[in-house]
């Protein structure tokens, strides 16, 4: 077990560094999975049992997030965010507990961490019924795929575009939209 953990840590560090170097593209979303070492329900809660694996987006540990650090501005609001790596680990926990759909949601979420708040809200609003044309939705899917490397989310939006077309849920499909 100990050896495996070290491997995982090494892989995590590599992925974090890689992620920082190639920002803003979300590169590390599926990192731990590809390393072959997976966490399971037995490692949960990760924030207690696997503190070694949980980092903030700027590479701090949970123990670094003290009141003192906040008051000195060495920990800022940005540090209190989840990383794609942590979401992938939680996806693995969910999967090992038999919850495949939750794992899928966590993996979509891992991809979305790279997208700024305002843009992600805009994308959500664009997915609401009668808000977008087919081409506008496809453009969002392309943006997800090309700009943010968010492949799962891109597929999700493409599928939505098809369904909206078939069910008349696009902008202009309703008199007032």
């Amino acid at each position: 077990m100990a050896e495996l953990n070290e491997q995982l840590i090494a892989e995590m560090v590599r992925q974090v560094l890689k992620g920082m170097a190639s920002a803003p593209a979300a590169s590390g979303a599926s990192a731990p999975a590809s390393s072959g070492g997976k966490v399971t329900a037995k490692d949960y809660p990760l924030g207690t049992n696997r503190k070694d694996m949980i980092k903030t987006p700027t590479g701090k540990t949970l123990d670094d997030l003290t009141l003192d650090a906040v008051m000195k501005d060495s920990a800022t609001f940005k540090d209190f965010s989840i990383t794609p790596q942590a979401l992938e680990l939680q996806a693995q926990v969910a999967e090992s507990a038999g919850r495949r759909q939750i794992a899928m949601n966590m993996r979509r979420a891992a991809e979305l961490t790279a997208i700024p708040d305002e843009r992600v809200l805009e994308m959500y609003n664009a997915l609401r019924p009668h808000r977008s044309t087919f081409d506008e939705l496809i453009a969002i899917a392309d943006e997800l795929q090309n700009k943010y490397n968010a492949k799962t989310c891109a597929a999700h939006v493409r599928e939505a575009a098809d369904v909206y077309k078939r069910r008349k849920l696009l902008r202009g499909d309703r008199p007032e939209s």
Binding site: P45, L46, L67, A94, M106, P129, R167
Partner: protein, 557 residues
């Protein structure tokens, strides 16, 4: 015309509160029927090329958006042929049989179509639903949630009531608004008050979906719940979403490290005028499966704000208990309603809650009113703070853990005061309209907003706008508290923000202890398998429940 001579017996009965409730007959054509509408589809499934090509008699090309989403994401195709081949009665038997493990039941349930699940539920009577809930509940330890709202959106009352609610044992607390622009201030009051009353308590603010996410992103709330889904396409569109937009929204929440569950409930479709003649429970099963398919960890259901509709028709309360059961049987957290006024009759409203209370659910209430109902901005809960001693007595009478604990007047007054003081300091730090010492004093000892002087609403609303415009975050709240010497509260708000980094509370049915440890269905799975198994009251917890302060102690006589 001579007046008809009346029976005194019947005249007396007509004066009883139950006669103020609305009761209606079934009206099948518009779906005003709780379970088993003749218009409900007949269960079927056909799978070809790894896809569902027919579900419940509907061909894939004719699927509406809900049916397509459910068919593609919520059904386990490996399990489906075997599970669909079982009779409804056989599956119903397994749900109540203590010799069939919970995990086997959830696997079978995940192989079923919506119409099949609705029919399985129709095989169960209410006692069997209670038994099945006890076994199928996702997390082993039951819990409960409160509403904390104010008719005047009074921030000082909200912070004090949040502190008291947390002290009384609610593991989650939810606010909403009388005036929507007050929202950020209400969220702020709950964030601080909760951590004063019992650190670890999760808070949220129910609002329009996009705005709810925005204040979550700011770290002013820890979770979200009013993310509504609906069973028919037209009603879903009127709710301004689709399964795809809602699934995307679910991922948005997770991507910001925020816990969330969806909301649905029997009666919403017929209430919104587009149930297409289907039974309330069949449409609700679609909602539950959409939630499952979206990868959301849990669901608030049990009719919720439409309770007056199933509450008015035959077998309606049984359908409500059944929808809670379907949620957990599909392996999700359930926050099981009991959160909306439903009857003038104390007998009826108590009976409505007992199935969830006796069985125990992840959150027995998805909103026990932590204030008097006149302050409840969810239009009133089935139980309010003035019923709390009745509730504590019921826990004790039946030796049931309903999630609440007896508290003393002194400790309650103390946490209310401390919370109000802390908020006073934070308002001053942020340059918001001052909270006076008089307001602190009033909120400390108040029962409801009638006991506190009104605030200058337009000035408060400017502060709410400022909070949003200046981008004030949870970290700014931590700093403001610490600057004014409230370091212990600052530490606990910080502890809640740290939950967003590990994401442990994103797992199914999670709650947070006062030290920041996370329990969920992952490390506290329900292992009920008959008497003396599953959740058992610890001796300490039983002592706590026993010791209601107003009971006569034999040793004192």
């Amino acid at each position: 015309m001579a007046e008809k001579k009346r029976s005194k017996r019947f005249e007396t009965l007509e004066q009883r509160p139950v006669h103020k409730d609305g009761f209606t007959g079934e009206w099948v054509d518009v779906g005003l029927i709780a379970m088993g509408s003749p218009n409900d589809p007949i269960p079927s499934i056909k799978i070809a090329g790894g896809k569902v090509v027919e579900m419940d008699g509907i061909k894939r090309e004719d699927f509406n958006m809900n049916e397509q989403f459910v068919a593609d994401y919520a059904i386990d195709l490996e399990m489906a042929p075997k599970a669909m081949a079982m009779s409804e009665k056989e599956i119903a038997h397994k749900l109540v049989d203590i010799n069939v493990p919970r995990t086997e039941c959830t696997k079978i349930m995940q192989g079923l179509t919506p119409a099949k699940i609705a029919r399985v539920m129709d095989c169960l009577n209410i006692a069997e639903i209670i038994l099945a809930m006890q076994k199928m509940r996702t997390r082993q330890t039951p819990g409960t949630q409160a509403h904390i709202t104010s008719a005047t959106d009074n921030p000082v009352m909200l912070v004090a009531d949040a502190a008291e609610g947390a002290l009384r044992g609610f593991t989650e607390m939810e606010t909403t608004v009388a005036v929507v622009r007050y929202a950020p201030l209400n969220a702020l009051s709950l964030l601080i008050g909760a951590q004063v009353g019992r650190p670890g308590t999760l808070t949220q603010c129910a609002l329009e979906e996009a705005f709810e996410l925005q204040i979550g992103m700011r770290g002013l709330t820890a979770y979200a719940e009013t993310i509504s889904v609906y069973g028919t396409e037209n009603v879903f569109i009127d709710g301004d979403d689709t399964p795809w937009s809602k699934a995307f929204l679910a991922s948005c929440y997770a991507s910001r490290g925020l816990k969330m569950r969806f909301t649905s409930g029997t009666g919403s479709e017929v209430q919104m005028g587009a149930a297409e003649g289907k039974s309330m429970l069949y449409l609700e099963v679609l909602c539950i499966m959409i939630t499952k398919g979206a990868g959301v960890q849990g669901l608030q259901n049990g009719s919720i704000s439409c309770i007056g509709v199933p509450g008015a028709v035959p077998s309606g309360l049984r359908a409500i208990a059944a929808e809670n059961l379907v949620t957990v049987a599909l392996d999700m957290e359930v926050a099981s309603g009991n959160d909306q006024t439903f009857s003038h009759s104390d007998l009826r409203r108590t009976a409505r809650t007992m199935p969830q209370f006796f069985a125990g659910t992840d959150y027995i209430f998805s909103g026990y009113s932590g204030t008097p109902n006149y302050d409840n901005m969810f239009a009133g809960s089935n139980w309010d703070i003035e019923d709390q001693d009745d509730y504590l007595a019921l826990q004790r009478d039946f030796k049931v853990d309903g999630g609440n604990r007896p508290v003393t007047e002194d400790e309650t007054v103390a946490v209310r005061n401390r919370a109000a003081r802390a908020l006073q300091a934070v308002y001053e730090e942020f340059g918001f309209p001052p909270i006076t010492d008089e307001e602190v004093e009033q909120a400390t000892y108040a029962n409801g907003s009638k006991d506190i002087k009104p605030r200058n609403v337009p000035e408060d609303l400017k502060a709410a706008e400022k909070l949003l415009k200046e981008g004030i975050t949870g970290v700014d709240v931590v700093k403001a508290l610490a600057k004014r010497g409230y370091n212990d509260i600052a530490e606990k708000v910080l502890m809640m923000l740290k939950q967003r980094v590990s994401g442990d509370y994103l797992q199914t049915s999670a709650w947070v202890t006062k030290d920041g440890y996370v329990w969920s269905a992952v490390n506290d799975p329900n292992e009920y398998a008959g008497p003396m198994t599953g959740y058992q009251l610890s001796p300490e917890r039983w002592e706590e429940i026993k010791n209601i302060p107003w009971a006569v102690r034999p040793e004192d006589i």
